[in-house]
Symmetry: C2
Subunit: 216 residues, 2 copies
């Protein structure tokens, strides 16, 4: 069994993927870890270490073939998968998310949207009708989606997640303010908009302080 890849490495993978996609778009054929490191603002050592967690994709004296490496990283990330996903909570945020994000390019297919609001039920988003949340169990049993995007009010998040876990959902993209405490065999990615705003606020405030420190 391969040794576990650290989360630090995994966090960087999508970034590599984005940079390589950009290079590919620009028609760049090959790139050395040194060149890429300068573009990305990290060390060449780190790039080589990171990639070598998954295999040797480069060639001594040449560097890395951009198209090949791009494809390999897509494979590592599993982007060629078609994991079925549902959206739970069709508020403005949830709707915008499924409309804007290219689920298909990131390994997922949106197969269902659920809400409890009678006003919303029946509306169509991206060619998918918003269904009554009452029917979610039946739907999951039939379609067997892997992932659920959680975009409900925070007060119901923990209950919703518990129920969906019981119904067999294995992965959550958490868009709510609330924290998810997942079961052991369930994976979670959090997008806490509030946290990002707070961190940005901190950075601005801290910068201001530093400035006045210097002035003294």
């Amino acid at each position: 069994m391969k040794k576990q890849v650290s989360t630090s490495v995994i966090k960087r993978l999508p970034r590599y993927y984005r940079y390589l996609g950009e290079l590919l778009n620009c028609g760049v054929e090959r790139i050395s870890s040194k060149e890429l490191s300068e573009k990305m603002g990290i060390t060449a050592s780190q790039i080589r270490q990171d990639l070598n967690c998954f295999g040797g994709f480069g060639q001594q004296g040449y560097g890395y073939n951009v198209e090949y490496l791009y494809g390999e990283i897509a494979g590592i990330l599993g982007l060629n998968s078609r994991y079925k996903a549902i959206l739970v909570g069709a508020g403005k945020m949830g709707q915008a998310l499924v409309q804007n994000t290219t689920f298909e390019k990131r390994g997922f297919t949106l197969v269902g949207i659920f809400d409890t609001d009678p006003e919303k039920i029946g509306e169509e988003i991206k060619g998918i009708k918003i269904s009554d949340a009452k029917n979610i169990k039946e739907f999951i049993e039939k379609e067997k989606p892997t992932m659920a995007v959680i975009s409900t009010p925070r007060t119901v998040v923990s209950q919703v997640v518990r129920e969906l876990t019981d119904m067999g959902i294995k992965a959550f993209l958490n868009f709510s303010y609330a924290e998810i405490s997942p079961d052991d065999d369930v994976v979670v990615e959090n997008i806490h908009l509030s946290d990002s705003l707070m961190r940005l606020c901190y950075k601005i405030s801290a910068k201001g302080e530093k400035k006045s420190d210097n002035e003294e």
Copy 2:
């Protein structure tokens, strides 16, 4: 001058803030680092170390007063500030963002929204009219906003950021797929939805592999 607080610590601050807010809501008056660590799934040591970057907020034998600590962290994060913010790019995502996120609670006030689409200009979001992006310079000179939420198509991001930086914007919340390479005195927080989806995809895929490894 205080020593620089590490980014690892800063990343955790909003999470502490959320947990303390929750405790406050539940009427909990005091909490020890041990109790909190069990709730959050981290070590008590880490909590004490983190907090002591900013000062001693606890009391031996007692623990931490929830309300007091909550307030102190708000202060550290700068959440009582009223940094002026503008939204650049009023697509579905941008609109949802400013509608759902409580800017006010996170240290910001939304003062302007800009887009280039004539269809959108004049529409009102959260009581703020969408303005023509042509007028953005004039607006910034007058209102002097600190932060800009970037929610434009990725192709124009780098140019938009460069221009806004020249006009005096000091902080960016980047909601686009593109990477921002900020000037030295500019701060950035990225929310890359695609990256989150890719990481989730990786986690699902990797979990599957591990399972089959075990079965062999």
